[in-house]
């Protein structure tokens, strides 16, 4: 394969393959940045992969007070799932258990979508009859009495069917520390791209998987071609210089958001250079047969 080399980093001639998903977004605000983040981090915990978590969720961007509906610091959180019903269930469970409970929080719609998902219109029942409905400027809010005042929550938020999940690339390095640094700079760069999230721990997955496995019931299992300890044992994708591979998995509100996030992440890895970070960049796919969205790495170069 005619791989190209940019700034001393080999870019594989391959592509990332991604799927259509359903997504929604909410804006969480709190009295300060710490507690806005806390509510957002809590509600996006255990949301790395739809394989075992029901949804994929993370903070999209942090919002300054000037950009939130109530003038307090906030976070835009995105949630992705394979179907509308599961997305609705995950949204209500997570906001109900993690945002409603978080001190001083409020919750607003973060997306104008093709359809509406219930938010406050379901959580209002926590008010046990003392909840107050308010319409302000065409938007509908519920005020639910809680022990530090009121939990204010917009009645609904939007759903988009144009979301894309599973955009990805691999950073491959000579040591674990270099792979981690390269992945970290990529995650930091993607954090600035609106409408895209990296749902894995700190945005990084070390257990990139293949579909299925030798054991019955395994939906996904070790991607042995990219496991350095198996380099001599199986048909490996890794050369002698690679001792660590980390995957960045990207979900986006749109096809464009995923592409923008991949570009930003790859650019950051390339700028870091092969001496401190990755010596090679690749991507995961299923041969192009399963996913509707294809992101060729050579189109994602800066």
């Amino acid at each position: 394969m005619p791989n190209v080399s940019v700034n001393g980093i080999v870019i594989d001639d391959t592509f990332a393959e991604a799927f259509g998903m359903r997504a929604t977004a909410i804006i969480i605000t709190a009295p300060n940045r710490k507690w806005a983040r806390q509510a957002a981090v809590t509600m996006t915990g255990f949301a790395t992969s739809v394989i075992g978590c029901g949804c994929e969720a993370a903070i999209d961007v942090e919002l300054p007070p000037s950009a939130t509906p109530d003038g307090r610091p906030g976070c835009r959180v995105m949630i992705f799932a394979m179907g509308t019903d599961e997305l609705q269930k995950q949204l209500l469970n997570r906001v109900g258990q993690c945002v409603l409970t978080s001190p001083g929080s409020a919750c607003f719609a973060g997306l104008e979508g093709s359809a509406a998902l219930k938010l406050g219109s379901a959580l209002r029942y926590f008010g046990d009859g003392w909840q107050i409905s308010k319409k302000i400027g065409g938007r509908h809010f519920w005020r639910v009495p809680v022990m530090d005042g009121e939990f204010l929550c917009e009645a609904t938020t939007g759903l988009t069917k144009a979301a894309v999940g599973g955009g990805n690339f691999f950073v491959m390095a000579e040591t674990s520390a270099r792979a981690l640094l390269a992945a970290e700079v990529a995650v930091a760069a993607i954090g600035l791209v609106p409408g895209a999230i990296v749902p894995f721990p700190g945005g990084i997955a070390r257990s990139g998987s293949k579909i299925g496995g030798k054991y019955k019931g395994m939906i996904a299992s070790a991607n042995e071609a990219y496991a350095p300890t198996l380099r001599g044992v199986v048909r490996s994708e890794l050369g002698a210089d690679i001792n660590a591979v980390l995957e960045i998995v990207i979900d986006g509100e749109t096809n464009d958001a995923v592409a923008a996030a991949m570009r930003a992440g790859i650019k950051a890895v390339i700028e870091l250079g092969p001496k401190r970070g990755a010596v090679r960049i690749s991507a995961g796919n299923y041969g192009g047969k399963l996913g509707k969205f294809i992101y060729s790495l050579k189109d994602m170069l800066p």
Binding site: G104, I132, I136, F141, E150, L152
Partner: protein, 269 residues
Amino acid sequence: MKALTFTLVAEPPERLDLSLLTAERLAGIERRDFEKIRIGMSKHGSKVGDIFRVAGNNLLDVVFEGGSARLDRVAEGMRGGSVRVVGDAGAQAGRAMRGGTLTIEGNAGPHAGSGMRGGRLEITGNAGDHLGGPLAGELAGMNGGVLIVRGKAGAFAADRMRRGLIAVLKGSGDHPGSRMIAGTLVVAGGAGEMPGYLMRRGSILLDRAPKSLSPSFVECGAPESVFAALIDRHLIAEGILKRPLLGNAPQRYGGDNAVLGMGEVLFPR
């Protein structure tokens, strides 16, 4: 198309019913017949042509040039477009309107915005009693939309209000928000006696402590309120107020416990 303009020629000799001069009611009438519409309410039986000089033909942009306290039922039931009164209006201005904008650049009489369901009614001067309130025998008052009074309002503003937003900026008479069913009433500049008397639900937002409250209101503390921040920002964004009304943690009174008791009176501490 030029705005359909009714220029007042002389002070009307009788009360006038202008509810016939909205886009909806004029739509089926030939332009040349407008002058013949009877609007007088007494034995004078004044016609449009006796009172106004009519110009223009855009039904969605109506202007009453020159006002009088005898111009009753301006823009009643309007659904869209804009109506502007350059001067005073009489009773029931904008009654039962459902959409569009009505601007009164002067004072309005009693029952302005009575039972309105949508749209925006702005009165730059003062409004009479029963602002947005129901007529005798009706169960609910204002049921949606935005009603702004830049001057003072009379007694019983927002009586039996059910939905929407009323903002009175230079003070109201007694019993604002009486018998409110729901909705939001803002009174800056001081409210009269006993705001929220017999209110069931809804919010009355004041810029200062009320001079009296019915004894069936109870003190509910002053926790931080996102709702207060939200409504403050909305009022400023809509150009209704210039500075925040409530602040982040307004004092709250709940009531009226003589009835359902789920309403609230909020004001800055």
